[in-house]
């Protein structure tokens, strides 16, 4: 993923979240945190994006639109799942109106033949702006992981 060493342009995709993670995504662009230091900017269309900042447990109503948006991102595609709703379904992981987060979405995309090249998971409720910056720095290879067995 050599191209990842350059600026990553992100598209913010809300698949039915409560907006807590989404206002923190907007907060990352404000002066205190300033993700634009890393070259990250929010783009208006998925066609311009390198990575998708994905929030929310995918609701039934927004599922076809989310699939359309992911299909529109050119290869290589990165999906960054932000927050406990996207990573594991959150507090509503088993209700009738959601499908359970990014894991189920990836299965559906797989069946339709849409390839996702890398998936990153960022837990939090809501995600701190510093967690998002940590995730971007992890993608670019600037920091090491802090969870899991190979954690430093």
């Amino acid at each position: 993923m050599r191209f990842l060493k350059k600026s990553i342009w992100v598209f913010h995709l809300n698949s039915g979240s409560c907006n807590g993670c989404d206002i923190e995504v907007v907060d990352v662009l404000t002066p205190y945190f300033d993700a634009e230091r890393f070259g990250v900017k929010l783009v208006a269309s998925p066609r311009h994006a390198d990575a998708l900042l994905f929030t929310g447990p995918v609701t039934l109503e927004s599922l076809p639109k989310v699939v359309n948006a992911v299909k529109a991102v050119p290869r290589p595609r990165i999906v960054v799942a932000l927050g406990s709703c996207a990573v594991g379904g959150g507090i509503w992981h088993d209700t009738y109106s959601t499908i359970g987060g990014v894991k189920e979405l990836l299965k559906i995309l797989d069946k339709q033949g849409v390839v996702v090249d890398a998936v990153y998971y960022v837990p939090g409720c809501p995600v701190r702006p510093e967690s998002i910056i940590h995730a971007i720095a992890l993608i670019k290879g600037l920091v090491k992981k802090r969870v899991g067995r190979e954690a430093s």
Binding site: P31, Y32, F33, D34, R37, S84, V87, G88, G89, G90, I91, H93, K103, A118, V119, Y120, Y121, V122, P123, G124, C125, R128, E130, S131, I133, H134, A135, A137, L138, L142, V143, K145, R146, V147, G148, R149, A151
Partner: protein, 175 residues
């Protein structure tokens, strides 16, 4: 109630505001982040103290904590991905085995990194041999009340059966 006054060319004051504020960016991750010591982050388990009682599993609103049997042992599994960082488990644990930290740097590309486990050995029932309680929980209960020593080694099914047999013997049951 006009607390707001608009002036001609008043918008030029923004230059003064910007000049006075200067640069406020925190150059995280190369500088310390803007987090206070009161922040509720990831929790940590002390596997020595944990007795495997499952109180934390009952109160977790999002089922991030699960207790299950695997190969005759009891496993408490913590899924960081679904945790909502409410710290109810920290409040409820009877032996204070769960500690809260301010950890928020939890990003990863491998979902298996987000599972943490605490494994316990179980006590087998002296009648039917089925494992039903962890060793540490048995020690904890015995420490609280020694009167249960008579039936601490029986699982609930055998305990019920023995109690009914005792009633039968005392009051004379069916032959």
């Amino acid at each position: 109630m006009a607390r707001v006054k608009s002036r001609v060319l008043g918008f030029l004051r923004i230059l003064g505001i910007a000049g006075r504020t200067g640069r406020v960016t925190r150059k995280y991750p190369y500088e310390p982040p803007l987090v206070t010591s009161d922040f509720r982050g990831k929790i940590e388990f002390d596997s020595e103290k944990c007795i495997g009682c499952g109180a934390c599993v009952l109160v977790c609103p999002s089922n991030a904590l699960e207790i299950m049997e695997r190969g005759g042992r009891v496993v408490l599994r913590y899924f960081i991905g679904r945790c909502i960082f409410c710290w109810r488990c920290v409040d409820v644990c009877p032996v204070e085995a769960i500690r809260g930290t301010t950890g928020f740097e939890l990003a990863t590309d491998n979902p298996n990194d987000l599972y943490e486990e605490v494994v316990h050995d179980t006590v087998g029932c002296s009648e039917c041999g089925r494992g039903f309680m962890t060793v540490k929980q048995k020690d904890y209960v015995l420490g609280k009340s020694s009167v249960v020593e008579n039936y601490i080694d029986l699982d609930p099914g055998c305990r019920r059966r023995k109690f009914l047999e005792a009633i039968e013997r005392r009051f004379g049951g069916g032959e």
